[in-house]
């Protein structure tokens, strides 16, 4: 019997409904799993692996051939393997591997964060996503975790690739201490890239258009990479002027101020921490007067890893702090935003 088209649905008995399924206990994991899958299969991942991989191989090859020609001088030196990551050929323009990650690494963080939230908005998937039984913060936490996972994977792949190249070119095998130092550096580098991921995600919350958000993140990257030294010099010479007849104290005050200002940038923090961790001979990244450099009163020695870690600790904590602040700002902004544009 056909039902007349205008009959009330009320006329039909409502079937008994089973209890709804229990929502996932940690919704962020479901979001992270999906985002991680997307990231691994994305075109941007392949572009970045290709770019960073080629640059890293170039860097390590340049360093390795320099070390190879100076092998006599290096004989007997411990920690040769990690030096391949932290040193560069002074006669060429090619940076060391660690410096390269400091330079290009931010791109990795930006690439996986700049459209995290505004991408969901422009695809109009956000209302549907947060209408599911998950807390709203599961979205941003899940996306950050997934982004960090993908970035970690890329960084790991490149580090292993470069290690393999170094091993083949130089035939130097890493000692357990080398592996531990590289692992420590890896964590610091990941925190550094995490800062850029968090910053890019903050942009993606604050800026509606993905292209604008990418531009904002790239702008900060370029300012910190290229103009930071210039800006720091200007500000420092204003606050701690160095006249032509400057005393040593004045010069040191100026240099110290420059260093402190530069340490606001995560790039500086990363490179200082990397210097401590990847070179056991580095005892300070602070100001060392010229006479002490040439005629050192410090006993030249090779530091054990725990001492290097202790030296790098302030930088590592500051870097993590910056990352947390950035992520926190994005988190709060996202939680307070209206669903609709």
């Amino acid at each position: 019997m056909a039902t007349p088209p205008d009959a009330l649905v009320l006329a039909d008995p409502i079937p008994a409904r089973p209890a709804p399924p229990r929502p996932p206990r940690s919704g962020w994991r479901v979001v992270a799993a999906k985002e991680f899958g997307d990231g691994i299969l994305s075109v941007r991942l392949f572009i970045l692996i290709a770019l960073l991989g080629l640059a890293a191989i170039g860097a390590i090859y340049s360093t390795a051939s320099y070390v190879g020609t100076n092998a006599q001088a290096a004989t007997g030196a411990t920690g040769l393997f990690v030096l391949l990551f932290s040193h560069s050929d002074p006669t060429s323009q090619v940076p060391s591997f660690a410096a390269l990650i400091g330079l290009l690494g931010p791109l990795l963080g930006i690439a996986f964060g700049f459209d995290a939230i505004n991408g969901e908005r422009s695809e109009r998937t956000l209302p549907r996503l947060i209408a599911q039984p998950i807390h709203r913060d599961a979205v941003i936490v899940g996306k950050f975790a997934a982004g960090l996972g993908v970035i970690g994977l890329v960084l790991l792949a490149i580090t292993l690739l470069v290690s393999g190249v170094a091993f083949i070119v130089l035939g130097v095998s890493p000692s357990p201490d080398d592996v531990a130092r590289l692992a420590a550096w890896f964590v610091v580098a990941l925190a550094y890239l995490g800062f850029w991921l968090a910053f890019a995600m903050l942009c993606s919350v604050a800026v509606r258009r993905a292209a604008t958000s990418a531009l904002a993140a790239i702008a900060l990257w370029i300012v910190l990479t290229i103009f930071a030294a210039l800006l720091v010099g200007i500000v420092a010479s204003y606050l701690a002027p160095v006249p032509t007849s400057a005393t040593t104290d004045q010069q040191i005050a100026n240099a110290q101020l420059q260093l402190d200002l530069a340490r606001v940038s995560p790039g500086t923090l990363y490179s200082e921490a990397a210097a401590y961790l990847l070179d056991p001979t580095v005892q300070t990244v602070g100001i060392v007067p010229v006479d002490q450099q040439t005629n050192s009163r410090a006993i030249p020695s090779i530091l054990p890893l725990d001492q290097s870690l202790l030296l790098a600790w302030p930088q590592v904590v500051a870097l993590l702090g910056l990352t947390v602040v950035c992520f926190g700002l994005g988190y709060v902004a996202f939680m307070r935003q209206e669903v609709r544009a």
């Binding site: 088209p5 205008d6 009330l8 649905v9 009320l10 039909d12 409502i14 079937p15 409904r17 089973p18 709804p20 399924p21 229990r22 929502p23 996932p24 919704g27 479901v30 979001v31 799993a33 999906k34 997307d38 695809e123 109009r124 998937t125 209302p127 549907r128 996503l129 947060i130 209408a131 599911q132 039984p133 998950i134 807390h135 209206e338 669903v339 609709r340």
Partner: protein, 337 residues
């Protein structure tokens, strides 16, 4: 004064012992000075299809977001399937399927993959989810397109996928925001038939919003007419028409013959208060009078040797009701100002 009284009666909750799926009490949302939803009292019975009708910007989407706990009300409260969306949003979202206005999907995933993500977010076990998804895709007629990327879907297909997606969690209530917007007319009929079938087959209470009245009246059991954040009336369509007309009735009568004779004949009918000719069609006349004229108008005219070619009660058409409500609303506010 009478108008005000009618307003009040129209918003009283239906007190017939039926279980309510959604109710709001003085729900209000203000953005600074702008009041998007103003003291809203809604009651929607379990199992019915309820239409929230009003022009764009009337506050429909804001209301829906508050019902889902995605936006916090400034004042008042709501109760959806027995839970307060502000305090227990997860409990509400477990039981309510939502199809947003202009729904979006992850373009690089297939329809099926998009639905799997929704199922995972609802904590549905994988095997059960796959079975349910296959069944729903079949129901909405997307079984063949299920494994194509969503970027290849047409708007109508996306809308249908959106409905299947909202049903993955086996909801007690489905909230559809403008389900017929930006779909071609043939698609609209399909979508509406689908809403009706889905509501019936799955025993779901449906709240749908629309700014196009004539499209949704076929599927709605009851409607609320909404403008500038306020409910102007709520009830069954016929009931609303009745209320609006009051004691007076306007009939559209189709009669052939010389205009003066026809007019005289119409005026001679007992009780007729006013007669005027239709502005567009000269063979149509508008006759106003008490409800009773409906019963004897045709007989009286026949007695005078005139046969009625067409007879229609003006105000039954939804769009007319809609427009009248809005003009009355404007009028009320005009007086107040």
């Amino acid at each position: 004064m009478r108008k005000r009284a009618r307003h009040a009666r129209a918003v009283v909750a239906p007190d017939d012992g039926q279980e309510l799926a959604i109710q709001t009490h003085g729900l209000t949302k203000a953005y600074g000075e702008l009041v998007a939803v103003d003291n809203l009292n809604l009651s929607i019975r379990a199992g019915e299809i309820f239409g929230l009708l009003g022009p764009n910007g009337a506050g429909k989407t804001t209301t829906i977001l508050m019902l889902l706990g995605l936006s916090e009300p400034t004042r008042g409260r709501a109760e959806v399937v027995g839970f307060d969306p502000t305090r227990q949003p997860l409990e509400v979202k477990r039981r309510v399927g939502y199809l947003p206005d202009d729904v979006g999907f992850y373009a690089e995933l297939t329809g099926r993959q998009n639905m799997r993500y929704t199922a995972a977010l609802n904590g549905i076990e994988r095997r059960a989810a796959n079975e349910k998804i296959g069944q729903l895709l079949e129901q909405v007629g997307l079984a063949d397109a299920a494994d194509r990327r969503v970027e290849q879907y047409s708007r109508g297909m996306r809308q249908r996928l959106g409905m299947a997606d909202a049903l993955v969690k086996d909801p007690a209530v489905m909230i559809l925001d403008e389900p017929t917007a930006s779909i071609d007319p043939a698609g609209v009929t399909d979508v509406l038939a689908l809403i009706r079938a889905l509501a019936r087959d799955n025993g779901v209470t449906v709240l749908l919003s629309s700014h196009l009245l004539h499209q949704v009246h076929q599927v709605c059991d009851r409607v609320a007419i909404f403008n500038a954040g306020r409910i102007l009336a709520q009830g069954q369509m016929a009931q609303l028409a009745e209320e609006l007309a009051g004691d007076q009735l306007e009939l559209e009568v189709g009669l052939d013959g010389p205009a003066d004779q026809v007019e005289a004949a119409l005026r001679s009918v007992r009780g007729v208060v006013e007669v005027h000719r239709d502005v567009r069609d000269p063979s149509l006349w508008h006759v106003t009078g008490p409800q009773a004229i409906r019963d004897h108008l045709a007989v009286d005219l026949a007695a005078r040797g005139m046969s009625v070619r067409h007879l229609r009660r003006v105000g039954d058409e939804l769009d007319e009701i809609y427009l009248r409500y809005f003009s009355r609303d404007e009028g009320d506010r005009g007086h107040a100002a």
